[in-house]
Subunit: 344 residues, 4 copies
């Protein structure tokens, strides 16, 4: 039986351009631990792509590392990171930020569409006992963009939230595990959705979107970057042959490869969602990018599994479908055929 | 000017077999976070190579991660890790183990030839106030094998030290960043120098010896492995596309590739050391593997640098030379010619 | 203007028996750090009072210390402590347990009357991804008894919850900052509401109920106690002149002083609540012990403040009133007169 | 048999003035957690005694708490605290600072007379790889004054060392567990030996010198104090009835009580040391304050123990003798008689 992969973009392989870049980086000897010319080239490229002349970049090998290292560099141990109730950093990283941050508190903020809103953030601020040492003090606001439920913030929404946060002395972090998918969906520039919207530090995902084992922290705040120099190392996140991480990221960001790969994933999801809508399937989320939470009866889900469709059951009656840069139109059409049969 | 790389084996590239294995692993989609068949195959291979049917393996992306995660899984926060005064974990990992371990203490033990000895370990035990809560309690003994100064422990030496440690309730860890080089030099089996000699957990290096970005924790103690399941994740050391780390390690351990690569490095060093000895250069260490600390006057070192030789100055009068799997006989001969000229 | 103290039992003074005991302990010299005979006598007394021959006791100087040290000794860093949404450890200790525990997660459980219930605990368990390293694993269930909202669990309720927790491998902790008040209200023995009901470790409060600066961890689990030996010291919670903490606790537990003091506080609250009920004041909680959250319009609250009544405003329309061992019937009657006038 | 207490000043009792002050503070109800008028009065007094109008004070209940909270507020997790090889914070606090500081490294500096010297500090700085993220970066210099071996730094020595440290960006901390004894010995003012000599934060001991359970952090650096507000609480070191700690410290600092008590201890040691010198006993340290490490054969030590003398054996041939505010001239004379007999 041929299977169709819709479990996760993490299950996809590596884009050919990136594999090729890794092989191409394997020439000669270079100094280790990030002092190499490939990593220097990456930093220059990031500054260009993000239109920020002082951006600093720290390649790491997992999204949890990017998030937890960023946040623990931005927040004192007695601080709190505010994020949406459904954020990955709150729900799926095993308290990594609390551990690396010396007991940093993660605090959920409510909000429809899986996003924080000005009024829910204001409510969280109002519920805070500012300056009271019995309570962890909010110091960072963290967005997941796109959210873990496949929706996106507009640039204006992010700017409004970071402005409100800054008034209270909070820095802003963006968990961009799938940032390329959001940029494509928004049609904005990388700068627009990050530092121009008030974001200080970005966890820039690449692995879900075609890289081998490379994520990056892109930092627009020099004080945070100075912390990251030390914190990355002592958490074991400075690879010795960093050129091979950097080479992946250079290929990823060159000639808009990242946006092209994400665009494929988004388009496949659009095709899938349109087809499912035609079949009368209900959606939990608006599929802004490459993720769909669909309302599917458990018997139907079982039937889909039998047909070779790979996906996750989230809770009774809800399944998750994720497309990737590797998903083909044919995959989508066959998946839709399976749905039609199972629903039939 | 052509340079000759003798700074570090970290500066070398990736072995062709390993690059090929990464490319070969890039087929189809597989489940993420280590539940994939490639990682399962790695575990089976490790059990075979180490002749231990219950060994468990955790691929990570840096040696500091392997060491600090292992040690923090083996030692309570109020415990101490004993290691030689010159150990990498004590001197070059920015207190990573203390951080990940919640304040674990690293305590140096003396010993000639950069190794702990039964009498120096006994002295460290005698200086311990056992059971006194004003003092961190020794709970782990950690070897660097080979040592950071390029010497090795014999199998019998390790066995004697772990036996003494076990009497006091300590577990044993081996920092094997260059383990292959030690195994080749000893002519022993991987099992002999690890669990059969009383070692519970091994940081198995691969990156310095030809891998791209892969190290592994090989764990012979199930209780420690159960800790590692959670601790690796929350430190950001469970890569999502783990198959690409696992594929590197499979290639590394298959058909004795790791031993072959290390053998080249060791042989090049033997050739280099013999030549330097003929030139009358003094050595700080006995070059058991691929590292030599040579006594070289600072003016001579400057002359060597001018000739294109790449190496590190350790302190006035001492330089470090390291060969790798990539070093050629010609590299060695040209290096020796440079020495002859500089000393001449 | 004479004030009437109803803000907190923390604001009360020290019981005469306890001040006298401190003075009486000031004779001669004794060895420091808890190896003194007074502390040994305390341990014997605790074993008698709690009817447990192997109980171990650790005097500390704050409730946050007792809770966070207990919990961090019971829970691995990758574990989670489950407690009610309103628990003190979750809301008012500035993530102390996360900090001392290396990133332990505190997770709220719902439940009416400010208590966890079998069905809400079952729901929390059902929502847990057991064995999944992306998620902190529940390892401890912590009760606040009485709750921070002045209600109590019955002995049977605690036993049912600890039994359900134990099935899942969780230990049980009881935050007894006001345990005496609960014991008096329940009319049970200290053993009944703790180890006989499945509780492994108790934070035994004394300061709110008449001590000077003494709380204690009472531990029925030897493995946890062995951890506490070291964890108390390295958190700075082993006082050098411990005899003066121990002497307070001995006086507290001798001749049921603790229960007598709590009984006064509870009776005063009963009198106050009855009077307020007669005045038609609504209650947020059932005042099982010495705390009442009363529905009082903000203008009325302002009027009460003007009359000299000291209390806390919790949120618009709700104030908190707490009696202590020092509250007199006259205090209560005058408070009621103030209410009558303000509501008039 | 009557014993003579020379083990530790921690074994002594509480000065009558301080017990009286505790009892006197037990009037009425006051707000908890340090917002009380007694604690405010303490801060005013500390500012006066230390002649520093912005000093801030944090009462705690152990010296380890004072040190580890101070240092973790002064040093980033990736930093190192430099102190003498024999410092209490390095040898007798079970890595408390590493734990509370998120993996802060403690690094010993050599120096005769148990003190750091300008040349040994310079050597430590020279051995530092500044800015290299493989190495914890020195950020705090910590003095023990008097040292754990009973010697003292002159004011000029402290000033010279803090100046050298400040050039490298290090703050200065003073572990003053026995600070009063040093001030008396030096004949200087509290300001002279602390902030005027470049010290930013002081752990001010009181318990060894007559208090019940009170130490204080005296902080001359506002940024550190702002950290301490939160760090004290989340480590469980904000007592609820803080007035009783503050009252002890007020009595301690009023009318030079602390200096008077320390003066007694120092004088008794001077008498003891003079007598022992007359008996030909050799000294390991110059007994600048109230501690003497004496060279005494083990058989003699056994004889002294039999005579009722209480002291600690440090290592074969060396015993520790400590006087306190409670030691009498008669104690000293009887101790000398025991020595004479044992040596006889």
């Amino acid at each position: 039986m041929t299977t169709i992969e819709l479990r996760s973009d993490n299950a996809a392989g590596v884009a050919p351009e990136i594999i090729a870049a890794v092989a191409a980086a394997n020439t000669g000897s270079v100094i280790a631990y990030g002092a190499d010319p490939v990593t220097a080239q990456l930093e220059a490229l990031v500054r260009s792509v993000f239109e920020h002349p002082a951006a600093r970049v720290f390649p790491v090998t997992s999204g949890t590392a990017a998030n937890a290292l960023s946040l623990s560099s931005m927040c004192p141990p007695w601080g709190a990171v505010l994020c949406h109730d459904t954020a990955h950093i709150l729900n799926s990283e095993a308290a990594a930020t609390s551990m690396l941050g010396g007991g940093v508190l993660m605090r959920g903020v409510a909000g429809t569409d899986f996003r924080m809103h000005p009024d829910t953030l204001a409510a969280a601020f109002a519920a805070t006992r500012w300056g009271d040492n019995h309570h962890s003090q909010p110091r960072v606001l963290s967005f997941t963009q796109p959210t873990d439920m496949g929706t996106i913030y507009s640039v204006a929404e992010i700017a409004a939230l970071t402005a409100a946060a800054r008034e209270r002395g909070l820095r802003a972090h963006l968990d961009g595990a799938r940032l390329a998918n959001a940029i494509v969906a928004l049609g904005c520039s990388p700068a627009d959705v990050t530092w121009r919207a008030g974001v200080d530090v970005v966890s820039l995902g690449a692995t879900k979107n075609g890289a081998l084992s490379a994520e990056a922290i892109v930092c627009f705040d020099d004080a945070v970057a100075d912390e990251l120099v030390y914190r990355t190392k002592r958490a074991g996140h400075v690879t010795s042959k960093m050129r091979f991480q950097s080479a992946q990221l250079i290929a990823y960001l060159t000639d808009d490869l990242w946006l092209g790969l994400a665009s494929v994933a988004n388009q496949r999801m659009a095709r899938l969602a349109a087809g499912l809508g035609d079949l009368g399937v209900g959606f939990v989320n608006r599929p802004d990018v490459n993720m769909l939470f669909a309302e599917v009866a458990d018997e139907v889900a079982t039937e889909l599994e039998r047909s070779g469709l790979l996906f996750y059951r989230i809770r009774p009656g809800v399944i998750r479908l994720v497309t990737s840069w590797q998903t083909t139109d044919d995959d989508v059409d066959r998946a839709l055929a399976s749905f039609a049969a199972a629903l039939g």
